[in-house]
């Protein structure tokens, strides 16, 4: 029996809990956290920009892990997990690439700079555009799924490079802020942590939602074939 994702009470409760957390984070960001004297309200984009990047990193890790399992087991559920994670990772990566320039415009005076962190994130995004082109236009079947799994594993190499890019290249090449979160005041630190938790829960919820849809699509495809 096929049923809607939100027909289950647990999924509805999760959606409500994430919405409440989202509002709490917004309240803390607007009314509780201090205002940076130089960047003012623009600095608060950080509470959404960094968790988006964190979520993209988790999603790309899930793509690599599920790709590995798929290559070993050839089980369709790992391919579904890889595809759903890749879509969400790219979505959050796009949010990073949009909110970053919105912050940079008033602070740097220009929305984009070809410095290491920004460039490596853009490369990651473009790798996943290639991944989706393969999934969309490659032959339907086992071969495309296997090549996608390999791309997902290979692409994950870029995640640690993005993370260390602010230290890996020389200081003259750096423009991206490198705040040490442990030295931040409590209001900034805990709001940031709560935002990270909210984004992580949102990712898990959206991933389960997307996997449910992929399962429905597979069931419908088999049903059409039977008819």
């Amino acid at each position: 029996m096929m049923e809607s994702f939100y027909s289950k009470a647990g999924n509805r409760i999760m959606a409500i809990a994430i919405s409440v957390l989202w509002l709490v984070v917004l309240y803390l960001v607007l009314a509780v956290t201090r205002i940076d004297p130089d960047q003012q309200m623009a600095q608060k984009i950080f509470y959404y920009h960094v968790p988006s990047a964190w979520t993209a990193g988790i999603a790309f890790l899930a793509v690599a892990v599920s790709g590995g399992f798929y290559l070993f087991t050839q089980n369709e559920k790992w391919d579904h997990l890889g595809l759903a994670s890749a879509e969400l990772g790219t979505l959050f990566c796009a949010l990073v690439l949009i909110t970053g320039p919105i912050w940079a415009k008033p602070i740097w005076g220009e929305p984009w700079s070809w410095e290491p962190r920004l460039t490596t994130v853009l490369i990651m995004f473009l790798i996943y555009i290639g991944y989706f082109l393969l999934r969309q236009f490659g032959e339907i079947g086992e071969r495309t799924r296997r090549v996608s799994a390999v791309i997902g594993i290979a692409a994950f190499v870029n995640v640690p490079i993005i993370y260390v890019s602010v230290k890996f290249w020389s200081a003259e090449a750096q423009l991206h802020p490198q705040p040490g979160m442990s030295q931040q005041p409590a209001d900034v630190y805990w709001t940031f942590i709560l935002s990270l938790i909210t984004f992580t829960l949102l990712f898990v919820h959206l991933l389960r939602n997307r996997l449910h849809l992929l399962k429905l699509q597979s069931q419908m495809s088999r049903m059409r074939d039977d008819i």
Binding site: Y48, I98, T99, W103, K105, N209, L216
Partner: protein
């Protein structure tokens, strides 16, 4: 000046909200279409 910085924050927030809401809505629409088709095919059996 403060309002200008707030506008940048608001823009970033609204972009994130719109993208995530758009994603959730698109999944909901696709799921609804599939379930409608499933009910139609089931009733034809």
């Amino acid at each position: 000046m403060t309002y200008k910085y707030f506008a940048y924050f608001l823009s970033a927030f609204l972009v994130i909200f719109a993208v995530l809401f758009g994603w959730i809505y698109s999944i909901y629409r696709r799921e609804k279409e599939l379930l409608d088709e499933y009910r139609r095919l089931s009733s034809e059996d």
